[in-house]
């Protein structure tokens, strides 16, 4: 076991799956010779050849369309979006084709579409987005976002082995972040899709979150501890279908909930989770379900603007103090 980054964990997961199963292949922009814009697939072309590591034109619809067709015929394609922001260029294929295929024609599309998401690196409006809200309303798709190297490796393997289309979001702020390096087993393991994980046990309130915001929540929890508030943190890991039982369990335990995400506010994960909590755990609540999210604007470029845009530890503290008053 050695300590590795989240990026290296994804790289290892992809590599091992390609070694294990020759149906697995990669396609995307600049993934071959260059090894990908973030170097997730560095060295793959030399090892697996250009039939299994395919450099494509800048054509997201053609890339994901080809992945769908190959998946239907028994392959296990993994398509890379150079930045997840560009996934909107293939919205039709994902929502109208991939998501509906099993329901309409009884044919699953075991495909992974993966790519770097998220802000905090001053990438501006088109290299910083979190796109889960676009797809949350599309039955037939799955969405995954790991927050640490162990999960990243286990989840990419689970996504490749899954019989349905999985969108795999890799937070670029975490890619090479040394603070979250982890020891990861070298033998084969998966992290099941659809299962959340408790990152911090607590009894006073629950922070439900995912991706890079797990660390914002952890920082906030340390500060809340000094104020005598003991926060529990639930990392969703899978956004669709999310772990309903784990969500309701933590709500029932603490009776106070903050939902924290980096995606913008309106029509986001937090709204959906709030509705589920209201429907299924209303009598357990001691206060309103609070949302801490990015503001409803495009992702701004300038550092002070982006910092204002994204949820900060202070925003979580403010929401927690409000909740504590109930």
């Amino acid at each position: 076991m050695s300590s590795i980054t989240l990026l290296e964990a994804i790289r290892q997961g992809l590599w091992e799956e390609m070694e294990r199963d020759n149906r697995v292949f990669l396609l995307g922009e600049d993934i071959g010779i260059y090894g990908g814009a973030f170097k997730v697939t560095e060295g793959f072309l030399g090892k697996f050849g250009d039939q299994r590591v395919i450099d494509t034109p800048i054509s997201e619809s053609a890339i994901v369309g080809a992945a769908c067709g190959a998946a239907m015929m028994g392959m296990r394609p993994v398509a890379e979006m150079q930045f997840i922001d560009f996934i909107s260029c293939c919205f039709d294929i994902l929502t109208n084709y991939a998501a509906t295929s099993r329901y309409r024609q009884g044919i699953g599309i075991p495909m992974v579409v993966r790519g770097p998401c998220g802000g905090g690196v001053h990438g501006g409006p088109f290299h910083s987005q979190n796109v889960e809200s676009f797809f949350l309303n599309t039955p037939g798709l799955k969405m995954v976002e790991p927050s640490n190297p162990y999960d990243a490796k286990g989840l990419i393997k689970a996504a490749i082995r899954d019989d349905d289309p999985v969108l795999f979001f890799e937070h670029k702020f975490l890619y090479r972040n040394p603070a979250i390096k982890q020891e990861v087993p070298s033998d084969d393991y998966i992290v099941p899709i659809g299962k959340a994980a408790i990152r911090r046990e607590g009894k006073d309130l629950s922070i439900i979150t995912y991706g890079a915001m797990v660390y914002t929540a952890l920082d906030a929890a340390e500060k809340l501890k000094l104020e005598g508030i003991d926060a529990e943190i639930l990392d969703l890991r899978t956004l669709l279908p999310f772990d309903r039982e784990a969500v309701l369990e933590t709500v029932k335990k603490t009776s106070k909930v903050i939902i924290l995400h980096e995606a913008t506010r309106t029509g986001g994960m937090a709204g959906e989770l709030t509705a589920v909590i209201n429907e299924s755990a209303f009598e357990y609540l001691d206060g309103p379900v609070m949302r801490v999210t990015s503001i409803d604007t495009p992702v701004p470029y300038a550092p002070p603007l982006e910092e204002f845009f994204m949820p900060q530890v202070d925003d979580v503290l403010k929401a927690a103090r409000q909740l504590a008053a109930y």
């Binding site: 494509t56 619809s61 769908c68 039709d92 329901y103 024609q105 039955p139 799955k142």
Partner: protein, 331 residues
Amino acid sequence: MDLSKEKQLELLYYMRLTRSLEDRLDNLFKQGKIVGGLFRSLGQEATAVGSAYALDSKQGDIVSPLTRDLGALLVMGAQPREVFANYLWRATSLSRGRDQNIHITDLRRGFIGTISPLGTLVAVMNGVMLASRMQKKKAVGMVYIGDGGTSTGAFHEAANFAAVQNLPLVIVGENNAYAYTTPTTKQMRILNLADRVKAYGMPSEIIDGNDVLAVYGSAQRAVDKARDGGGPTFIEAKTFRMRGHAAHDNQSYVAKEVIEQWKKRDPIAHLEKVLRDSRIADEKDLASVEEKINNVLNADLEWAESQPSPAPEEAVGGVYATEDQPKAAGA
């Protein structure tokens, strides 16, 4: 072209089967038994039948027809009963009442149903052929696109991708002069759909889409070339849509004279004349084709109408692999 007497008669059979089946569907729509929309291929039967006839299911060839390519589905072995059942939203139809018209799929027989956004299936068929190549098969794919569909981004991305990857794919561009109500002059500033793929380095042929023997000949050349590793071909079939976009559309935007002109070029009448002139078939032969078709359609419609409708709760399930799957429908 060398095509046996039997094969020429078979082409006639599939074209007339297409037309008669659609006539029946038209009646069912007027009776309110078919809901949603009804999209016919009247006047375009030669394009769908002649092109798919060049495919070989034994080699794993696979086709993705558009709504106006019922003939291609029939050539690949789809049964009229399956078409009736799907249009009549029966629980035992191939889509089990979940999708409309001829959006039906059977990978075993080699057809993949289209979806309504245009150009998408060209991109998907690229992947089907990529898989075929990786699996060391010699299969050829065929996918259709209309004049309107060639204006979509998905079509252009996919055509370019097919060319770059040198995939064994035949794209049949059906130029039937109208995209719903919009004439090709408002789709593009060029005369031919085929000119659109020149920039991608994809070879093309332009043919009379109402001459089934010409369509077949062109498709067979393209299929052979694709199977031999020669890459994709675009075939532009010039034809005409003899009805509105769907049953509700009375085609008021098309000049009567234009329709009259195209009536004289009816693809079925054309082949029948060829068969008579070359003494391959006489009136008796032609009448027996018609009789055979009527018998098939009578039996198949009766079967389809006797099938159950889906129970309301069958709307649930089959979205994910982990859920209970509805029972697969049989052929």
